[in-house]
């Protein structure tokens, strides 16, 4: 039953909840950012638009914008296609399968982007395992071009975007009523059609938030497309980075950042209009699902002739070859397991290389050695940067997921238009190139005396982690049945206790997911670390980056191996503890 609470109560609660997060964003993001972007109007102390004129008239910059959006768009589409079966299996499969997939898809975060892309170059290259296998099996006669072109770029980008997409989709899937799919089956829908016409539309909020998230994160791709792509124009962030880091041309960097931000927000506005317009859903709820259903239903209609043919030539349904009723889900499981394994593969290769120190990518058994681990564990700077990264990421995860939770709860009962605007405000930190934010943050923290502290890293990373966590939590909060809260209220639960006893427990799995995303975002960050690290607080990615870029230091592999090992151990232990406590509860 939809409700129309007194407008005052709604607004008061929303204001109370949203004030903190918005102030946080304002202080630690918008104020410093605007200071930086303001530079785009100044050249040598003169106010001017000439930077914008130059950016908008140069083929180099325009191409960079086109490529940046193209890259983000295709990465989003591909991540959706690849991530959907994975999320589906996570939501519907057993807890062990879920654990396996989770471990696999977050693996890419445990190594430096540089190393990870190098592994792909080795795997997909002329003499890589894919081409050598295909040639060995005589499937192809010449090596295929799988890298240094768009194929390579998208493999690399989807590889890292997968957890973002999967966790968003998962958040919209785990509350879906399975009996609806059953109902569809009794009405004659085969597995495919009931999946697409019934299940998929209901995941529309997850599809939208996952796509948004992947899209904006993809705008900031730095290393991956550069290493895996062919000879193509640089993306906007690369240019921003070059202007800022190499040529010290701040105004141009600020100009490009502002343009990127403006273009992206404009795109969102158009998208939102399209998604929300033209359906009869009440109070804007469920509108996305209806919209998506309409679309899929149209496609489904197009398949009629094919089905007619099929029906004509297929034998009596009850006399058809028997398939076990469970054979179909296994296909999805197989796909998901395959995708997860492929995701983990390059990282496992890197881990392996840590044990077989050899500068070439050949692994020879005779080479087995723990030398690089010894080097890793005996070096202070490595151990301490690893610890710093963990500390910063953990605190960031706690802070960001709390902010996201509070924000999502505050947005919960606001009118859709206001909600969209506020969500966009929460998304900006990821649209602005991270280097631009990194430098802005430096000025801010310098002013308030936090430079060189871990706190500054935590605050900076929290800003970066707000967009993904807010998106996940908004989707999760929307999937909660309002009637449960009503019921709790009628049983005497004050808003606070409803939150504590009903909403929070129901949101717990997704809060954990959002904390994980925040953790990964922090743990993987390089751009902000480039500015905010100090002798006292150096993060692992910065350490990995430095040593990789300047030394090809083999400890990079050892560090990745240690992290992968730790993660697997931590997740498995958590899983065991949880299943034990479950079985104790009966």
């Amino acid at each position: 039953m939809p409700k129309l609470r007194g407008p005052d109560t709604v607004n008061r609660a929303a204001v109370m909840l949203l004030t903190g997060p918005l102030l946080f964003l304002l202080c630690f993001f918008y104020v410093p950012l605007i200071q930086t972007l303001w530079m785009s109007f100044w050249i040598d102390g003169v106010f001017t638009f000439s930077n914008y004129e130059r950016a908008l008239s140069s083929a180099l910059y325009l191409n960079a914008f086109v490529w940046t959006f193209e890259l983000a768009l295709f990465t989003t589409i591909l991540s959706l296609v690849v991530g959907y079966p994975v999320a589906y299996v996570m939501a519907t499969g057993g807890s062990r399968l879920r654990l396996f997939i989770l471990i696999c898809i977050i693996m890419p975060f445990w190594t430096s982007a540089l190393v990870r892309t190098f592994a792909w170059v080795a795997i997909l290259g002329r003499e890589g395992i894919v081409n050598s296998s295909l040639m060995y099996l005589s499937i192809v006669s010449r090596p295929m071009s799988l890298v240094f072109n768009r194929i390579g770029v998208f493999i690399g980008t989807v590889h890292v975007m997968l957890p973002y997409m999967v966790l968003c989709l998962y958040s919209s899937m785990h509350g879906i009523d399975r009996s609806l799919v059953r109902a569809a089956e009794t009405l004659g829908a085969g597995r495919m059609r009931s999946f697409f016409l019934i299940y998929v539309p209901q995941t529309a909020p997850g599809i939208i938030s996952g796509s948004l998230l992947v899209f904006i994160v993809s705008l900031g791709f730095f290393v991956t497309p550069a290493v895996l792509g062919g000879n193509q124009s640089p993306s906007v962030v690369v240019l921003v980075e070059r202007h800022m880091g190499v040529m010290l041309n701040w105004p141009m960097a600020a100009t490009l950042s502002s343009l990127l931000l403006a273009a992206t927000l404009l795109l969102f506005a158009v998208f939102n209009r399209y998604v929300r317009a033209g359906h009869a859903a009440p109070e804007g709820q469920g509108g996305e699902a209806i919209r998506l259903y309409t679309l899929i239903a149209k496609l489904d209609q197009g398949w009629r002739p094919v089905r007619a043919l099929w029906r004509r030539f297929s034998p009596n349904p009850l006399r058809r070859r028997r398939r076990s009723a469970r054979s179909q889900p296994r296909l999805a499981t197989l796909m998901a397991a395959l995708i997860a394994t492929i995701t983990a593969f390059p990282i496992l290769l890197i881990v392996l290389m840590a044990f077989f120190p050899s500068p070439s990518s050949a692994i020879r058994l005779g080479n087995f050695s723990l030398r690089w681990f010894a080097l890793y564990f005996t070096r202070d700077e490595w151990i301490s940067s690893t610890l710093t990264s963990f500390q910063v990421a953990l605190v960031t995860a706690a802070l960001a997921s709390t902010i996201a939770l509070v924000t999502a709860l505050g947005l919960r009962r606001l009118p859709p238009a206001v909600r969209t605007t506020l969500v966009s405000i929460n998304l900006t930190p990821m649209i602005v190139p991270a280097v631009a934010y990194g430098v802005s943050a430096y000025f801010l923290f310098a002013q308030i005396g936090l430079i060189g502290t871990r706190i500054s890293l935590v605050l900076g990373h929290t800003i970066l982690a707000i967009p993904p966590t807010v998106l996940v939590m908004v989707a999760a909060v929307q999937s909660i049945d309002n009637r449960l809260e009503d019921a709790a209220a009628s049983l005497g639960a004050s808003p606070w206790r409803r939150l504590r006893h009903i909403i929070l427990p129901l949101l717990a799995p997704m809060t954990a997911a959002s904390a994980l995303i925040a953790f990964l975002t922090s743990f993987d960050d390089l751009a902000i670390a480039l500015f905010l690290t100090s002798s006292k607080a150096k993060t692992l990615p910065k350490q990995l980056y430095d040593s990789m870029l300047n030394d090809s230091d083999p400890r990079v592999f050892a560090a990745s191996a240690v992290l992968v090992g730790l993660t697997i151990a931590a997740l498995v232990i958590m899983h065991l503890l949880r299943s034990r406590s479950m079985s104790e509860r009966g």
């Binding site: 019921a487 049983l491 005497g492």
Partner: protein
């Protein structure tokens, strides 16, 4: 059961010109009624007549567009649900999926910070009350429909609110269990003086349990009265037809004198019918309930001759569809040794007392 919280309210309720519409659809339209503290009021009405919406407004989930709701003379508008202390059993249960049966039932006690031991006690008693012993540790999805409904019931009863709103709380229960639950509701109602507002589709339930029944139609209250009055003196044709079974025969008042009318139905002439303000030469609907009609010996002079068209067996009784020339009536006959039970096609003779007839203007 001891009261979980000292009932600060007595539980008298008054609705004044309540109104709520969704888009163009008026769900509740100018509903006014007042419920005494301790009264058992049933809302009865066709599907979509606004019963659930009315309850939702009283509970505070839906904001009325107009009108006011007074609980013990305090206007509830603007008071949040959790301060209203109104127990609600939802049409669709609304059990908390992350809590076990015991935790669901214990929730309102927990919200009132009841002592651990007391809580256990209350939960045990409520669980027993709805016959769910042994299922305390199950989760909602592991229960059958009726079991879920009983959890919802126990959860609303356990904290003994002064006012209980129940939206078809027994809909998914079998007859025996329903009898027991009805009994419990009645006991709670009587012993604790709880005010109950009850939505049901089961008329028997309504008639047996209620102090008064409000019949709703299209968001309005058509009649509000004690069960017997609703059943025996419906104010209009809608109420008459809605509550209980009925025969309507088109007729015409040919004479009226001193509160008594003579009515002509086709060829047949009825005398001594209470005219209830209907005057001669008016077209009327002649209303008589199936159980008021009896078979007299076939060929009886005073009876009306008819033929058995169909019969419907329902255990304790059989409904006969009898054609009386152009008209058709249903006759309900108790099944018992020695009672005359005609077969299909039999010629029968019917009789009824004119005092059991009500006339409504056409």
């Amino acid at each position: 059961m001891k009261s979980a919280v000292p009932a600060r309210q007595a539980g008298s309720l008054e609705l004044r010109s309540l109104r709520k519409s969704y888009g163009g659809v008026v769900a509740v339209d100018d509903v006014s009624l007042s419920v005494r503290a301790g009264e058992f009021l049933t809302l009865l009405g066709p599907s979509g007549s606004g019963k659930s919406t009315t309850l939702m407004m009283i509970a505070g989930f839906v904001q009325p567009e107009a009108g006011s709701i007074l609980l013990d003379n305090t206007d509830l508008v603007g008071i949040p649900t959790h301060k209203r202390s109104i127990g609600v059993v939802f049409q669709n249960y609304a059990l908390f999926p992350h809590m076990s049966v015991a935790q669901n039932i214990g929730f309102p006690l927990r919200m009132r910070d009841m002592e651990e031991a007391d809580t256990r006690d209350h939960i045990a008693r409520a669980t027993a009350l709805v016959r769910l012993h042994g299922l305390e540790e199950r989760y909602a999805r592991q229960l059958s429909g009726g079991q879920q409904q009983r959890v919802a019931l126990a959860r609303a009863l356990v904290f003994q609110p002064p006012l209980l709103l129940l939206d078809e709380p027994l809909g998914a229960l079998d007859r025996m269990l329903r009898e027991q639950m009805k009994h419990e509701l009645r006991r709670v109602h009587q012993e604790l003086g709880t005010t109950l507002i009850y939505v049901t589709h089961d008329q028997d339930e309504a008639l047996v349990l209620s102090d008064r029944i409000a019949i709703m139609k299209n968001g309005r209250v058509e009649q509000i009265a004690p069960p017997r009055e609703i059943y025996e003196r419906p104010v209009n044709q809608f109420v008459a037809g809605f509550m209980g079974e009925s025969n309507f025969l088109g007729g015409r008042v040919v004479g009226e004198h001193g509160g008594t009318a003579t009515v002509k139905i086709g060829e047949l002439l009825l005398q001594g019918v209470p005219s209830s303000g209907i005057r001669a030469d008016q077209d009327v609907e002649v209303f008589i309930r199936p159980e008021k009609i009896v078979f007299t010996a076939p060929g009886d002079e005073k009876g009306w001759a008819g033929t058995v068209k169909d019969l419907i067996y329902s255990g304790d009784s059989i409904r006969y569809v009898i054609s009386l020339g152009s008209a058709q009536v249903i006759v309900k006959q108790t099944v018992r040794q020695g009672v005359y039970l005609p077969a299909r096609g039999d010629a029968v003779s019917l009789s009824w007392d004119p005092l059991d007839i009500i006339l409504f203007p056409s």
